[in-house]
Amino acid sequence: MTFIKPFSGFGLGLRTAYQDALLSGEVDLDFVEIISENYMVDGGRSLRILEQVRSHYPVIMHGVSMSIGSAEGLDADYLRQLKRLEQRVQPLWVSDHLCWTRTSAHNSHDLLPLPLTHEALAVVCDNIERAQDALGRPMLFENPSSYVTFPEDELSEWDFLAAMAQRTGCFLLLDVNNIYVSAQNHGFSAQDYLAGLPLERVRQIHLAGHTPRGERGDFIIDTHDREVVEPVWKLYAQACAMIDHPVATMIERDDKIPPLPELLAELDLARSIACDAIQPSGQRVSV
């Protein structure tokens, strides 16, 4: 209940564009990540496909609608259905994001930013504890990309995540692209961010592409619609060098999805970078 054993491997998300290839079980992946909400249904084709994929690969459940930052608490129906899926899938772990998505009246279906205050930290910790109790297992939470900071902020995001993990016993899903995106948007150091995190709590890393500044205004936007850029690869190498235990790495691609071989080639690059960050003796090296 209180520990998630590290898992080493490289995976992709289950997406319609290449699900037939995954159904064959012949794609060289160590795990497959699903968007939990897409499978929180009573029955039908999506669950049948998931069952087939599960027969070939370990599965990670990654959610987008838990809304652990919601001041109005968690949705009981959501938790029930998440638990039902978790029991069905028996995933390596269940993850979601440090964000909020809902009020009692509306749902944004986007990962909205939290003011980094002690009040928000208390709300987040209460909600995480409730979710972990409901699931009967610790969860992972992902650092978000963000486009707004709040005048009332009292903590850095890395201090917020560290306190959250320390208080609740949750683990971290480190999205390296999100660190880069938010660092660029808000002018903080990505290296300070990495150095400030309790990296021993990291179990998974996400990599993705983003829309550069200028294409949609004066922000870098986390769009998962293109390949990972060089500065993010460098940050990934730094993270791999700093983390002293195995982690699972995944490339997220949700739009303009290329042919599967291109995604697999990108995943091979992640393998190679991660491998280079570790000496043959298993010692991490500084980058």
Binding site: R45, T101, H106
Partner: protein
């Protein structure tokens, strides 16, 4: 948790800005924060419009890209989603189409059909009753048992009455053809449409309106005997149904039952 917590107030205000660009930002926000909010608003708008697009693909093809886009945007502004599943962004879109495409009522009916097909596609997996299963379940029935029999359908199945030949509309779209004037015209009399799932595949069939109403009544738990009576009442107007009308209704109900069984719509039969 207190209703008046600072975080709760801040989140309500933030959500109001996400949903409506005319909501003013907090006084202490600078231009950078206002610009950042535009990113969230744009992300929200595209996510929910994409969800509506995905659910109502055929409705979009029927009305055309631009008209559909305007309808979808109108829908998400007037019906911001409340539930945790993004599919719910499409909830009530048929009513939105009814209001927006006043002279093209087939559009709302097509949207109703697509919503029904989405619902049934995610319903519980239940095997339909076979003819042999039905025979076994009713083998010991006496006359009173038939009257008291309640029919249950596959989860997610639904029915409605419509004014257009949705089967022809569907086929036209499948063939890649645009809307045809004759299919936009209402039929001389209303029809019924029943939606269910065959294996993984949502399907529908056009039936007469009486059958669609009988299907709905059965879903509400009305017994076979009550459905026979309902059919007899429908053909008899304000008059007490004659014996002949009752006999015709029983035959019609029997034919419907046979069709539901043959199509694999029935999951269970039992006596009330």
């Amino acid at each position: 948790m207190s209703d008046s917590s600072a975080l709760q107030r801040a989140q309500k205000a933030f959500m109001a800005q996400v949903l409506d660009e005319n909501t003013p930002p907090p006084d202490q926000w600078n231009a950078r924060q206002v610009a950042g909010m535009d990113v969230y608003r744009s992300n929200y708008r595209s996510a929910v419009v994409d969800a509506v697009n995905s659910t109502y693909e055929r409705t979009r093809l029927w009305v055309g890209e631009e008209a559909f886009k305007q309808a979808a945007i109108h829908h998400v502004i007037t019906h911001p989603p409340a539930g945790w599943t993004i599919d719910e962004a499409g909830y009530g879109f048929a009513e939105t189409c009814q209001a927006l495409f006043v002279d093209r009522s087939v559009v709302a009916e097509l949207a109703w059909l697509e919503w029904a097909m989405l619902r049934t596609s995610r319903a519980d997996d239940v095997d339909p009753m076979t003819a042999q299963g039905f025979a076994a379940a009713t083998e010991q029935f006496e006359e009173a048992d038939w009257g008291a029999m309640v029919v249950e359908f596959l989860p997610g199945s639904t029915s409605g009455t419509v004014q257009h030949d949705l089967h022809a509309v569907w086929q036209t779209i499948s063939a890649g053809d645009g809307p045809a004037d004759e299919l936009e015209k209402a039929l001389e009399s209303e029809r019924g449409c029943i939606v269910w799932r065959e294996g993984d595949r949502p399907v529908f069939m056009m039936v007469d309106a009486a059958q669609a109403r009988a299907f709905a009544a059965a879903q509400e738990g009305r017994s076979y005997g009550e459905i026979c009576q309902m059919l007899a009442d429908q053909t008899s107007g304000n008059q007490q149904p004659s014996d002949e009308a009752l006999q015709d209704a029983a035959m019609a109900a029997g034919a419907m039952l046979g069709q539901w069984l043959n199509e694999g719509l029935i999951s269970v039969v039992k006596t009330a």
